[in-house]
Amino acid sequence: MRAFLHGFGMHVPERVVTNAEIAVRVGRTPEWIESASGIRERRWAAAETGVADLAIAAAQNCLARVGVTASSLGLIITASGSARPGFPGPAAEVAAGLGLESTPAIDVPMASAGSLFGMTMAAHMAAQFGDVLVVGAEKMSAVIESAALDPNSAMLFGDGAGAVLVSARPGPWEILDAVLHSDGQYRDSLTFDWSAPLRMNGLAVILQAARKLPSSIEEVLTRQKVAAGDVTQFLLHQANQNLLVRVAKSLGIPAERVYSNLARYGNTSSASMLMAADEWSQANPAPGPVVFSAFGAGFHWGALLARRV
């Protein structure tokens, strides 16, 4: 595997949903929501906006940033856990939305870890397919609104999309290594299928995530002989601020080394890691190794190490 990250992109809907608005509906206070999650507001898309619409906007933003035309893409990978069930998935619509008529497009029907799995797949496939656009897009508001609001999940989620261009051509960040894992014995701990409300066993999810995120990061760092303290930025799935702080503590690094935009966007599932990466990349980041990591329903989790070229 020799692959590079060329740049990122993102898109969020205009409508801001504050904790005050959510609090009224779930019977909690805005302060409680922020204390429990680190979230102050999130974005919700309009009723007529679909997962593919969010994905296309993020994809176009990414392509514009890296100066690549859609026609030169060799493959599109679209991760989403909130796309409507059935076939086709949103990947084909994303490709069509970019004006492509024959470029292969793959769906990764995976929630929070979807973008990480997509990036890793892209890193391995780029040598054969050329430039690979990976998009994570979620309309979690539709998931929340599909049934009676559950206070513990309704306060967490937001809508958005993130994108990254992965290529075998040299670019700003070289992917050094990646590890992916899945453990289906906890598949019932976090589920959603549109026939019932999202079900989340928060105790099991946090307990496993608090262990598996740092362990997968340490796994990839150890393999590449990189110390956690030498990593300039950790770009994690934005699940919960308390979890991000806990991961930093487990790794023995300052909490600010873990990028967070949770306060503004909430948990956008598979989109969140790439949205964080886009904001981070736009802020003229310091050179050095950077780690991507995610954990989500399945459970699926892993980590990817890259370095500034």
């Binding site: 928060g202 105790l203 999810v205 496993q208 608090a210 362990s215 308390n242």
Partner: protein, 81 residues
């Protein structure tokens, strides 16, 4: 078999991860009573590993194993045997 010393050490660990008084009943759910939440639970597991010099494997990271003082004590006993 109950071990007074192990139980005392367990209660000491619990007091480090919660500010609430411990339940009088060892069978009472620590989660339902609000003594432990989803973020205190990982703290508890880490503290138990440190206090008892054990490594709780990922396959044992099931909240039910840590739902009451009695269950945690049983888990520690099993690990010691």
């Amino acid at each position: 078999m109950p071990d007074a010393t192990r139980r005392e050490r367990l209660l000491r660990v619990l007091k480090t991860v919660t500010t609430q008084p411990l339940p009088a009943d060892d069978e009472e759910s620590l989660f339902e009573s609000g003594l432990l939440d989803s973020f205190a639970l990982p703290d508890l597991v880490s503290a138990l590993e440190q206090e008892f010099s054990i490594k709780v494997p990922d396959r044992d990271l099931n909240p039910r194993k840590f739902d009451s003082i009695a269950r945690i004590d049983t888990y520690l006993q099993d690990r010691a045997s």
